[in-house]
């Protein structure tokens, strides 16, 4: 299978300007040398904490932010240089679902108007009202929802409208930026199942950005763990969760409490010390070395390259060979079943 989306050594830096002449005094290195490729039909996850660059990378893919260097290839075309009208075909093929449907839906438009607008702008050939009902029903909403305003719907229903809007133009790729994070637990499960169902039905490709590891593992075939703009580890969900090799991935997995009191009592917790450094002034060498429990002198000076570990698995850490700790035995067993 060929790659549908290829992110090729992309860096995104934002200048910081000060003073009357707006002189550049520094820059935020939000994304630094990220290379990834997404196969057609797969769900790929990007996980990490605040400031790790996952949202900036997603916005770069959506062409809402220009990469400082590197290129974005979609279906064999370099889309990072496209502007204006030349972007229109790309915009049809790539859609987005955002975290908070309340702020991403126009409060003065009914969901029917919201969906029609997208179809209208992209000159949909066919009956727009029919397509609107079809989209609503695909997302589990009755036709009467076309007449409701966002404030008349619950959070889950609004997110369904957000998903219907993303589906409107039959896209190939959907970027889901924390698409289920703002929802109540019981509703989150409904939306996760809906996203999975739609992906299978239409052969969609997802770039799924999330901070909840359990959700990302559940939805995604492969994922990348980011920290301060760089990829720390990437691989299939099974590779990463059954044998995480980067100390940051190990700490992240360890920090997630499982809904199982017996398992939690039996598990040893080692917390990461310290805070996430500012992306304004990221640490030298490996960006994680200031919090890393196994860092040594080289980590403070050299940037570890992403090393292949077999399969899809790769991690950027100098101590990769020594650090073969697997996670919680329960997780390991669940994987091998």
């Amino acid at each position: 299978m060929t790659a549908l989306l290829r992110i090729d050594d992309v860096s995104v830096h934002f200048p910081i300007r000060k003073g009357l002449l707006q002189k550049q005094v520094g820059e935020v290195r939000a994304v630094e040398g990220v290379t990834l490729s997404l196969k057609r039909g797969e769900a790929f996850g990007l996980v990490g904490e605040s400031g790790c660059g996952k949202t900036t990378l997603a916005r770069t893919v959506l062409r809402l932010v220009d990469p400082t260097s590197g290129a974005i290839w979609f279906d064999g075309t370099n889309v990072s240089g496209l502007r204006g009208k030349a972007l229109a075909p790309y915009r049809k093929q790539v859609a987005a679902i955002f975290q908070d449907p309340f702020s991403s839906l126009n409060p003065r438009m009914t969901s029917g108007q919201i969906l029609s607008e997208v179809l209208h702008v992209h000159a949909f050939d066919g009956s727009i009202p029919d397509r609107v009902s079809e989209l609503l029903s695909l997302c589990g909403l009755a036709p009467r929802f076309a007449d409701l305003y966002p404030h008349e719907m619950s959070g889950g229903q609004r997110q369904r409208v957000g998903i219907a809007r993303a589906l409107a133009l039959d896209p190939e790729l959907i970027v889901c930026d924390e698409a289920v994070s703002a929802l109540d637990v019981s509703i989150q499960a409904q939306i996760i199942n809906l996203l999975e169902e739609l992906r299978v039905k239409f052969g969609l490709t997802y770039l799924f950005i999330g901070h909840d590891l359990s959700v990302v593992r559940h939805l995604c075939d492969r994922l990348a763990v980011m920290y301060l703009g760089r990829i720390m580890e990437t691989g299939t969900s099974d590779e990463i969760f059954s044998s995480p090799r980067h100390p940051y991935t190990q700490a992240l997995i360890d920090a997630v409490p499982a809904p199982d009191p017996d398992g939690e009592d039996a598990r040893e917790h080692v917390n990461l010390a310290g805070e996430i450094p500012s992306p304004l002034d990221p640490p030298s060498g490996c960006v994680f070395h200031t919090r890393c429990p196994i860092a040594f002198s080289k980590c403070a000076t050299d940037v570890p390259p992403l090393q292949r570990l077999g399969g899809h698995h790769a991690a950027s850490c100098f101590a990769i060979d020594q650090n073969k700790k697997t996670t919680d035995p329960k997780i390991r067993n669940a994987q091998s079943q």
């Binding site: 409904q190 593992r217 920090a255 499982a258 939690e264």
Partner: protein, 323 residues
């Protein structure tokens, strides 16, 4: 005598002359030194019931009935001044968003020192020394220098540490933490919750931990109240509820969350529909429109809370669906 004993608490919102109950007939108690978790989704009444205990209800919200006994004293019969003295000294609260609970134009130090002077009657210099000790205890490095800084100089996790220091200042017997880590990153969340657990253990402080995260409950709480539609639908030992939930809502919640300790191909079983809206009247059990086991009686009669569960047909080991 339990430390806190809430009996048949009902809290209503009055708006345009219409009373809407947000907390309905809620009874629970907290023993000294224990951690009780309250779980529930939006509109379940978990935050409103704890604000009622703290005497911090907004004007439009009123306690309609019930008793809140703290060490045997009914808080509803205390005047504002007596209640103000209890807050901080006997019980204190940690909120979700520390940026909005700290005063942005005053230094961290002045805010901690104020609460120490107020609650313990310390002199300024003693209060300052105590503030430094507190900051050290909650893991703020370089405490003397940081006292002079303002909330915006602190990261989210550090601000929450400051809130915990303020809550701890007078060594209260009870801390209510309302989604204390929801706004924080997962590695910081683990730091903060471990800190709270350690502090409560060291000082023998009871903790009410309000959360929607079932993993946090499993890791940190001994007992749990599950709330839905303003009521406690199930209550008991956390381990027992997780291993064999008796209320269909508890079962539904547990089956809704993706888990790292299970095979990722296990499909999620969401609860149908949306959480009960307090403004919509629902007859009988408020969960019945979403309940897969609902029968006619569930639509007509509110199930009484007996033996830890409020359900006409509580699940038993035989009826429980395999997880």
């Amino acid at each position: 005598m339990p430390l806190l004993d809430t009996q048949n608490l009902t809290v209503s919102l009055t708006q345009d002359g219409i009373e809407t109950p947000l907390v309905r007939d809620v009874s629970f108690s907290v023993e000294r030194g224990e951690t009780l978790a309250i779980v529930g989704e939006s509109g379940s009444g978990k935050s409103v019931s704890s604000l009622a205990i703290m005497g911090l209800l907004a004007k439009a919200l009123q306690i309609q009935s019930g008793r809140i006994l703290f060490e045997g004293r009914d808080l509803r019969h205390l005047d504002d001044e007596a209640l103000r003295q209890m807050r901080g000294r006997d019980m204190s609260m940690v909120f979700q968003e520390p940026m909005t609970s700290l005063n942005p134009v005053r230094s961290i130090g002045s805010q901690i020192i104020e609460s120490i002077e107020e609650n313990l009657g310390f002199s300024r210099s003693d209060a300052r020394a105590r503030a430094i000790d507190l900051l050290k205890e909650v893991g703020v490095a370089d405490a003397e220098r940081r006292l002079k800084q303002y909330p915006h100089h602190f990261s989210g996790g550090m601000r929450q540490r400051v809130m915990i220091a303020i809550a701890l200042a007078a060594e209260p017997k009870l801390i209510i933490a309302d989604e204390p880590t929801t706004a924080l990153d997962v590695t910081i969340q683990a730091q903060i919750l471990d800190l709270m657990a350690r502090i409560c253990k060291d000082h023998g402080t009871a903790l009410i931990l309000i959360t929607h995260n079932l993993g946090i409950v499993a890791r940190y709480a001994q007992r749990v109240n599950v709330m839905y539609g303003g009521r406690i639908v199930e209550s008991g030992n956390a381990r027992a509820i997780y291993n064999a939930p008796r209320h269909p809502y508890s079962e539904g919640l547990l089956q809704s969350v993706p888990r790292l300790d299970q095979d990722r191909s296990i499909p999620l079983k969401p609860i149908q529909g949306s959480p009960a809206d307090p403004f919509t009247s629902i007859s009988g059990c408020r969960f019945h429109p979403r309940c897969p086991y609902a029968a006619d009686i569930c639509k007509q009669e509110v199930p009484p809370f007996t033996a830890g569960v409020a359900c006409h047909f509580p699940l038993t080991a035989d009826t429980l669906e395999p997880a």
